[in-house]
Structure formats: structure tokens, C-alpha cells
Symmetry: C2
Subunit: 118 residues, 2 copies
DNA sequence: TTGACATATTCCCATATGGGTATATATTGA
DNA sequence: TCAATATATACCCATATGGGAATATGTCAA
């Protein structure tokens, strides 16, 4: 067997820097392919191919508008990455001890304690 | 050009599920290659090859102990992933609004307010 | 030195890649 | 209908892959 397909899962899909760049671009704005071509400065077929991969793993949604295709990011598809990396966040965040404490407190409050907001 | 090398960066290195599994195993315990072979149930050369990739991107550290090589994860190498995905965390966390507020407050306190610990 | 154990490396192969270029498939307007 | 625009797909190619099997390297013990 060779390497897993880029469409095998989100991890493989976003291993390609250009695809992360594309995702970041359509994270805030809904963009057409030609707008992406302009901003990325790479040939249109390449953009379309990257978008296809992102589509196949559900990382982007498409909408047709006339002859344009408008793309936007679907952050939900990134959840597996978020979940995996979150196991290492404690080691990466400087003040993780305090953060943990705060999150626990939030949870406690949510479960029925009273809460005085700021 | 073909796909970027697995050793090109952490994103490519951990795109392989087995390598994430290995990382998770050596995240808590320092393990030898043969221990990894046992737990993963795959041939030793494959484990060594995966470890090599992880080493080359700095995701694991090695230590020699006699004829054994003891591996442990180096979470610091995962920071680029953490940083990239953190741009999408707001959309992924359910209670992101409150979390944001709390983090802001933490920052405020850190900058000079008093703090009563629990 | 020799043998056993632990790990790394090498070789072979099928496979999917990303880039380049050309072309197919809409969709719009005249 | 026909030309122009927007996007997707098809082809070709060099390349690195992960798996399998064999072997090299290193370290200990006798």
C-alpha cells in the first residue's frame, strides 16, 4: 500500500499547506474559485483540485450562484483534529493549571450552583 | 512534484493514524520499541520507521538505555497544529462565548489585579 | 569471540500524489 | 445558436509513500 489518500480523513486533507491556506481564506468569507485563484496566486485547476479534496472530507461547503461556486469552511469537519490535539493542550498552554481550574469551576456552576456574573 | 514528504512538517507526520497512535502511547509513558511493537501489534521495522518520521519532525525524543531505545513524546512539536486549529476552536467549542470571557478575565487578573485562589 | 537480543536500515513494489497543460462542462448574454 | 466566462476534470509525470522481507548495526552476557 502507498500513503493514505488525502481524502482519507481531515488529517491528511489539511496536511497540505495550500489547503490550510484555502480553509483559512474561506473561514471568514464565502469566496468563489476565481477569488481564491487571485488571492492564492496559483493556477485555477490546482485550486479546484484542492477544493475537491476539502469537499470530500467535508471541510468546505459549496453553493452555486450562477456560473460561480461559492465556498465556505465547515469547521465541524476539523473536530477530529481538535479532539486529538486537545490531549496535548495542557502541555502546550503555559497557564494550563489555572485554565483547568477555571473550566472545572465553570462546569460546577453550570451544574446548578448560583452564579454572579460580572 | 509529488506529495510533500511526511517529514516535511508535523502536519504531514501525524496525518498517519499509526503515528498518532504511537505519539499517544509515548505521551504518558516512556516506551521502548519492543513495547510499542507489542502494543501496536505491527512488525518492528514499521514501528522503527514511524518513529524515525516522528523523530525527524521532533515529535518524539529518544534516550538510549543499554540496547533499548526509550521514546517519549515531545508535545512542543505539535504547537503548529495547536495554533492552526485554535483559529477554529471558537466554532467547535459549545460554550466558546463564556470561555472567551473567562480567558479575558484571567488575562486581566494576570496584568495586576489581585487574585483569590480556591 | 561468539551468540542472543534490540533496533535501525535497505530493498522492492503498488499506489496516490501535486504540478502542468489541455479540455470538458455549465451558465450567461447577445 | 454562438462566444465568453467560470469551474471541473482528464492526462502525464516525477516522487515519496507504507507495507513486507531481509539484513545491518549495536549492545549485552558468557
Amino acid at each position: 500500500m502507498a500513503r493514505a489518500a488525502t481524502t482519507a480523513d481531515v488529517f491528511n486533507a489539511v496536511a497540505e499547506p495550500r489547503r490550510r491556506e484555502i480553509l483559512d481564506l474561506v473561514a471568514t468569507d464565502e469566496l468563489s474559485v476565481s477569488e481564491l485563484v487571485q488571492r492564492l496566486g496559483i493556477p485555477q485547476p490546482q485550486v479546484s483540485k484542492h477544493l475537491r479534496v476539502l469537499r470530500e472530507v467535508g471541510a468546505v461547503h459549496v453553493r452555486s450562484d450562477g456560473r460561480q461556486r461559492l465556498y465556505r469552511a465547515n469547521p465541524e469537519a476539523l473536530r477530529p483534529i481538535h479532539e486529538w490535539i486537545s490531549g496535548y493542550v495542557a502541555a502546550l498552554e503555559e497557564r494550563f493549571g489555572e485554565l483547568d481550574a477555571v473550566l472545572s469551576e465553570l462546569k460546577r456552576e453550570e451544574q446548578g450552583d448560583d452564579g454572579q456574573d460580572a
